[in-house]
């Protein structure tokens, strides 16, 4: 529990779970939730490096704070897009959004 790699592995696993979630979910909100997981994985990494490696242990915390801020913004935008998309598609199924199809 006191080694850097433990935290890094935890973060990696969380990140992979997030990726898995993003890819397999068919609803947008599910994807958003999975993305939050990935962001958290990143936060953990920052905090871990901050704890074990960084010369100034404040910087990592600040970054984590910023990530939270970004996450809030991202969630707001994502939710509004979801709502808009829902109005358009009458579905939350992401696979219906295919306008970029070649």
């Amino acid at each position: 529990m006191n080694s850097l790699t433990t935290y890094l592995f935890i973060a990696a696993l969380l990140f992979s779970l997030g990726i898995f979630g993003v890819f397999q979910r068919r609803s947008l909100i599910g994807m958003l939730i999975a993305i939050e997981l990935m962001l958290n994985a990143a936060s953990i990494n920052f905090m871990a490096f901050n704890r074990f490696l960084a010369p100034d242990p404040i910087v990592g915390q600040i970054y984590t704070l910023f990530i939270m801020g970004i996450a809030a913004a991202e969630a707001a935008i994502a939710l509004s897009i979801i709502v808009a998309l829902f109005r358009r598609l009458r579905s939350i199924n992401i696979e219906r959004a295919q306008e970029l199809r070649g």
């Binding site: 993003v22 959004a97 295919q98 970029l100 199809r101 070649g102």
Partner: protein, 637 residues
């Protein structure tokens, strides 16, 4: 240089004679096309100036010592130098005069013949174009200039044959004439190029000098001579290329008289004479020409024996006489060939112009019909035509007699008697078919006084009493002039020979050496006339020729020995059907198809790849991450 243009009367006259008609052509085409009378006036004025100049040149150089040459730069390109100029020697002066005289007469005659035609101005423009091309060709100093104007003459011929372009047969005939002569011209051009590359010069005088043998091998001379003769064959309708000339009769009759009997078709023979010394360097080539001339003469004579169309008869006879001239030249009698060319120009133009009067009068080309409707009532043309036909048959004392005798003399001088016999047979046939026509008109089996020409706007009275008298006489005067030329020209045999041959040394075989030949030839001609009398002339004659009684033979002759069929088939099946079609398909299917195939393959692969762009974010991301991860794995481990 510029000042001498006006100081030297010879040069001025030559330039005027040759170039004035071109100015006329341009003037008519650009400005005076809507004014037919003015156009005709300009044209005739120009050609009469040409005539005066030609006669002035001929008379002032009657005692010409050596050829006069003028040349100015036309084109210089690298090794090629093409001057534009004039070469005045005996031969070109004679030819120039012939062309000028006949052009003048025909243009005057056309005033009557073409009166009221919607294309009157255009007709005179083309006539001027022809006169320009022909005269400039006659006095060309180099073979390249000769070739250039030779082609232009062909163009004028095309335009004039297809003059009644609304008639399909006329435009078809024009096209045929152009393409067929083009065929010969290609050979001519290749031959010229051979000479140019190996001899280095196309100046006519140089080509005629003995230098040629020094610089070119005999085989090369033979090859180039035969190739150049291709041009003669095309233009003068010699053996394989002879069928365009009868079709060319679709043009207005004066045109037939001018171009397709007297002058243009004789250009081939003229060219033969022009570089006669060059040709005579190769015995093999000369023999070939002799054979071609003979075949042409006999084939055309047989064709003339069965046709009912007056112009066709004279057309075949033109081909046949041209063959005769070629025979004469190829037999080595330079003078005989040219003399026959000269006399032939006179009497054949006369024949056509007379026929023109008949055609104009009766609006038919069938001479049996003409006889039926009272053709003999037209006194002046009838007499003139009989005189001309007699000249054509070689009856004394008309001009044709002298020139034919000269050729016979030349033929008799050859080792192989076959040529002489063929010539005599030709003379017999000529007399037969000419008088077949004359007798058919003179002594028709029944006469109907009312002829078709009476109705419509084209009715003319016979000899007078009508408002068309003026036109009739406009047409008659040239006939009378030509007839008198035909009558007297024979007696200028010796002066002309002295003038022409003085420089070619005494190598000529004289026609008069063989007295027996003279009697045989005249006898054969008379027997030809007699046979025609038996079958067509005497009272109660059946008016069916002996050839027409033999069905296969007459069919063979009437179909022109199937030469035309062969060409037609060749063109339709081989050129259009196979080559052209195949190439077109190749273009559409193979080349275009290939390119389109490449395009389609591109589009298709794009379409196939578009399935990857499903537009689904998740898959895109999935691929992105997988690739990223794999790349990272690859790089780190």
């Amino acid at each position: 240089m510029t000042s001498s243009w006006f100081q030297d009367p010879t040069l001025l006259a030559a330039a005027l004679a040759a170039l004035l008609p071109f100015v006329t052509f341009a003037l008519i085409m650009i400005f005076t096309r809507p004014y037919p009378k003015l156009s005709a006036a300009i044209s005739i004025a120009a050609v009469s100036v040409s005539l005066v100049c030609a006669i002035f040149l001929l008379s002032s150089h009657w005692h010409l010592e050596k050829p006069i040459q003028y040349a100015a730069k036309w084109i210089i390109s690298g090794d090629i130098y093409i001057p534009f100029g004039f070469l005045l020697d005996q031969l070109s002066l004679v030819m120039l005069t012939i062309v000028a005289v006949i052009s003048f007469l025909v243009q005057v005659y056309s005033l009557g013949y073409m009166a009221g035609d919607p294309g009157f101005a255009r007709y005179y423009a083309f006539q001027s174009l022809f006169a320009w091309a022909m005269m400039t060709m006659s006095i060309a100093p180099t073979m390249l200039q000769f070739y250039v104007f030779w082609e232009l003459v062909g163009l004028a011929s095309y335009l004039l044959i297809g003059f009644y372009y609304e008639k399909f047969s006329a435009s078809e005939a024009g096209k045929k004439a152009f393409v067929m002569t083009r065929f010969g011209d290609i050979a001519f051009f290749l031959g010229l190029l051979l000479v140019l590359f190996n001899f280095g010069n196309l100046n006519i005088l140089d080509m005629n000098s003995v230098d040629v043998t020094a610089r070119m091998s005999p085989a090369l001379i033979t090859l180039s001579a035969i190739l150049i003769f291709g041009g003669v064959a095309g233009k003068s309708a010699q053996f394989p290329l002879l069928t365009w000339l009868p079709d060319a009769m679709e043009g207005p009759t004066p045109v037939s008289a001018l171009l397709h009997s007297a002058t243009m078709v004789a250009a081939g023979v003229y060219m033969f004479a022009r570089i006669f010394p060059f040709f005579s360097h190769s015995a093999a080539a000369m023999n070939t020409f002799l054979a071609i001339g003979t075949i042409t003469m006999l084939l055309a004579s047989t064709m003339a024996m069965v046709t009912r169309d007056i112009k066709q008869v004279w057309a075949y006879s033109t081909v046949s006489q041209l063959g005769f001239m070629v025979m004469g030249l190829a037999a080595g009698s330079y003078f005989a060939g040219i003399f026959h060319l000269t006399t032939h120009a006179g009497f054949k133009a006369l024949l056509f112009l007379c026929s023109g009067v008949f055609i104009h009068e009766f609006e038919t080309n069938d001479f049996f019909e003409m006889g039926k409707y009272g053709g003999r009532g037209l006194k002046v043309p009838m007499v003139c035509m009989t005189v001309a036909a007699a000249a054509l048959s070689g009856l004394p004392p008309l001009s044709g007699f002298f020139s034919k005798e000269a050729i016979m003399g030349g033929l008799a001088g050859l080792h192989n008697p076959v040529w002489l016999w063929a010539g005599l047979l030709g003379a017999f046939l000529t007399a037969y078919y000419s008088f077949r026509l004359i007798f058919s008109i003179l002594f028709p089996r029944k006469i109907e006084k009312t002829h078709q020409g009476e109705h419509g706007g084209h009715g003319h009275g016979h000899d007078g009493g009508h408002h068309h008298v003026g036109i009739y006489w406009v047409m008659a005067w040239p006939l009378i002039i030509l007839a008198s030329i035909t009558l007297v020209l024979g007696f200028f045999h010796t002066p002309l020979e002295n003038f022409l041959v003085g420089h070619h040394g005494g190598a000529e075989a004289h026609g008069g050496h063989h007295a027996w030949l003279l009697y045989v030839a005249v006898g054969l001609a008379l027997s030809g006339v007699g046979l025609a009398w038996l079958e067509f002339g005497r009272k109660g004659a059946s008016q069916v020729g002996f050839v027409e009684k033999i069905e296969p033979m007459s069919r063979l002759f009437a179909n022109r020995w199937y030469i035309d069929h062969f060409y037609r088939r060749f063109l339709d099946y081989f050129i259009y059907g196979i080559v052209s079609n195949l190439f077109t398909r190749n273009d559409r299917r193979v080349i275009d198809g290939g390119i389109d195939g490449i395009c389609r393959a591109t589009v298709g692969s794009g379409w196939a790849l578009s399935f990857l762009q499903s537009g689904m974010l998740q898959y895109n991301l999935m691929v992105m991450f997988a690739v990223l991860a794999l790349v990272a794995l690859y790089f780190f481990f």
